[in-house]
């Protein structure tokens, strides 16, 4: 296991290196400059600013300098917020994003498992149909549309939740619902399909022949086996939540990194873009590593350690 983890961490670093390289050069291809009022500045002023931020050097030199800094943990200072180090800027904003992302994931997947299981257990009844409709809606409605609808009905009309801003759990409810809809729908669909399969398998028949009750069969045998394919989509779902959060955080004016990402791309804030890209790639790599380990825990057939057979 330790050897496997070491290998995976090496790959993680390699991935991050590739991501940094590709993003850095692509970013330089973005139209525009980091300057807000370029027209009002003289050529010499622009040159001075460029020199101050090291933008006058050739791109490959800038790249090497950035890399050298990044290895030492220095990700530069933001252009937008003068003299704020990127690491400080992002660490102060990652909290709300992580909270909403995790809440959406946990809420979506757990409810999805329940909806999917009930659908499968009551196959071809109104419960099943409702579950299917819910998952189709969840998959087809984009999170930003849902966000606005939630704001209007639950926030404005009913007044149950604050419409926007940040400050305490109650503020996280609507963004969590908006972001959690896709994971809910996707996992409900996956679990339902898989459980229908599992429930008709021989080992479920054997479990019934043992005299287990209906719930005993589901809880002890069907559930775990139905959840294996769900792990496969946890990675893509995490990506979905990350990209969704960029828009949703904007809609709810949440001071998170998603909102910051959009701003920094629009203003060509190069160090912040780089910092955010690294954070997102890192989180994704960790999620994928986590799902691979989870696989082994849930399914003994692909467990990494254990006695040689």
């Amino acid at each position: 296991m330790a050897k496997y983890l070491a290998k995976r961490i090496f790959y993680l670093i390699l991935t991050l290196f590739i991501v940094i390289t590709v993003t850095f050069f692509l970013m330089k291809l973005l139209p525009g400059t980091p300057l807000t009022n370029q027209a009002k500045l003289s050529k010499s002023q622009i040159a001075l600013i460029y020199e101050q931020y090291g933008l006058n050097k050739p791109v490959w030199q800038q790249y090497l300098l950035y890399l050298a800094g990044a290895v030492r943990g220095n990700f530069g200072t933001s252009f937008q917020f003068s003299d704020q180090p990127v690491s400080y800027l992002l660490s102060s904003r990652i909290g709300p994003s992580l909270q909403i992302g995790l809440q959406a994931m946990i809420f979506g997947v757990i409810l999805g498992i329940l909806v999917g299981s009930f659908g499968a257990m009551r196959q071809n009844t109104w419960v099943d149909t409702t579950a299917t409709v819910v998952s189709i809606l969840g998959i087809s409605i984009p999170s930003f549309v849902l966000a606005v609808l939630l704001q209007y009905y639950l926030g404005l009309k009913l007044g149950w939740f604050p419409i926007a801003e940040w400050g305490g759990f109650i503020y996280t409810v609507l963004p969590t619902l908006a972001l959690g809809a896709t994971p809910l729908a996707e996992s409900a669909r996956f679990v339902r399909t898989e459980m229908v399969d599992v429930l008709s398998s021989d080992y479920i028949e054997l479990a019934k022949a043992k005299g287990l009750s209906r719930t005993g069969v589901i809880y002890h045998h069907a559930l775990r086996n139905s959840l294996i394919p769900l792990i496969t989509i946890v990675g893509p779902l995490a990506v979905n939540i990350m990209t969704g959060s960029m828009v949703v955080e904007n809609i709810f004016s949440i001071p998170g990194i998603g909102e910051q990402f959009v701003k920094s791309v629009l203003t060509n804030d190069y160090p912040t873009i780089m910092g955010l890209t690294i954070i997102y790639s890192f989180m994704l790599c960790v999620v994928l590593l986590f799902t691979d380990i989870l696989y082994g825990i849930v399914d003994p057939r692909i467990r990494l350690t254990g006695k040689a057979n």
């Binding site: 022949a209 005299g211 775990r224």
Partner: protein, 366 residues
């Protein structure tokens, strides 16, 4: 109960499956007894209703199954009238089942020790440690080597034969009164088949259970069963002791089955087979369902269903050929050879018994 020796009495069982096309009459009036400690083999080709019969006994039929009539008496109680909850407490405790394919009948994500211990925990309310200790004993009993180290292994770490031993251990852990074995060796290769069958016989003696042995392999039946029931198109067409069915079969379908089984005496290039396919049970034919495939069919076969005719006290067959007015037919050569052998065996048997058995009793027996 009519007979104290019977542990299970199935009477006039009829099971239909509701489909969009109509009702499929899977079981059409089946009756049989299972005696204490015996092995009853139910043979027949695919789709003859063997598995539906056992599923009905277990109460595990598909949701579209409709039991239209009949009774299944176990310990003076009709299993068909029991609630789901009551059936749960009977399954795995009084009646257990071994399934056909050991590769798929074990939960891939549960340690085998726990799978074997589960019936103990469910029915006897046993604590996990105690149940696992008993599961370990059972693993040793079914011949899993190095059981102590393997109790925490998962099914994929075992071979097919070993997995079937585990399935047997699961079925027998509560010492059930009745064990239903639904083609337990079909998915195994021949050498392993023999091992598993020997194991089952051995364990039957040890824990004195009665076995309903479902198979389409007559070769397996000969070594395993005490009595045989032959099923065709949802009905039992002939039943008797193993010797009676193998050496003195009366139903043309049994003749066909036996002729299509190669024996050491088989000669010629071609193995006989029964022509045609079983009838569509959505709309079963009038009269004898086997008539269309039967070279010995009489006119009456297509008009009226044959009742059971008594061949001996233990041997019955449902064919018009046994009617006193039916024309005499000669069964296939192989069957005639079998009958001859049987006649000799009987003679030998009688000859052997003669010195030991008083005359009056012998008469009584006949």
């Amino acid at each position: 109960m009519e007979n104290e020796k019977n542990i299970l009495e199935v009477r006039n069982l009829q099971v239909n499956f509701k489909t969009y096309a109509g009702d499929v009459k899977a079981i059409r009036n089946v009756s049989f007894d299972l005696r204490k400690g015996e092995t009853l083999a139910i043979v027949g080709e695919s789709g003859s209703g063997k598995s539906v019969t056992t599923r009905t006994i277990m109460g595990l039929n598909a949701r579209n199954a409709d039991i239209t009539s009949g009774s299944i008496l176990y310990k003076d109680q009709d299993l068909l009238k029991k609630s789901d909850k009551d059936m749960e407490s009977i399954r795995g405790q009084d009646i257990a089942e071994i399934f056909q394919d050991p590769m798929t009948s074990l939960d891939p994500t549960m340690k085998i020790g726990k799978q074997i211990a589960e019936p103990l925990m469910v029915h006897k309310g046993m604590k996990k440690e105690k149940a696992l200790a008993q599961a370990l004993e059972m693993m040793k009993l079914v011949g899993i080597t190095d059981a102590e180290n393997r109790i925490n292994d998962y099914p994929h770490q075992f071979s097919g034969g070993m997995r079937q031993r585990i399935v047997i251990a699961i079925a027998l852990i509560n010492y059930p009164e009745i064990l239903i074995a639904d083609e337990p060796t079909t998915a195994l290769d021949v050498t392993i088949q023999a091992q598993i069958l020997n194991l089952m016989k051995e364990l039957q003696d040890k824990i004195s259970t009665s076995i309903i042995f479902i198979t389409h392999d007559l070769g397996v039946v000969a070594g395993m069963a005490d009595r045989v029931a032959v099923m065709y198109a949802g009905k039992i067409v002939e039943y008797g002791t193993v010797d009676e069915i193998f050496y003195n079969p009366k139903h043309p379908y049994t003749w066909g089955l036996l002729s299509s089984m190669p024996t050491l005496d088989s000669s010629g290039d071609e193995l006989p087979s029964i022509p045609g396919t079983p009838p569509d049970l959505l709309d079963p034919p009038k009269g004898d369902a086997f008539a269309a495939r039967n070279a010995y069919a009489l006119k009456v076969d297509t008009e009226q269903e044959p009742p059971f005719f008594k061949v001996s006290d233990t041997h019955y067959a449902a064919t018009w050929l046994l009617h006193p007015e039916a024309p005499k037919v000669t069964p296939p050569a192989q069957i005639v050879a079998r009958q001859k052998k049987y006649a000799e065996m009987q003679k030998d048997l009688v000859a052997q018994q003669r010195p030991a058995v008083p005359v009056e009793e012998e008469e009584e027996q006949q």
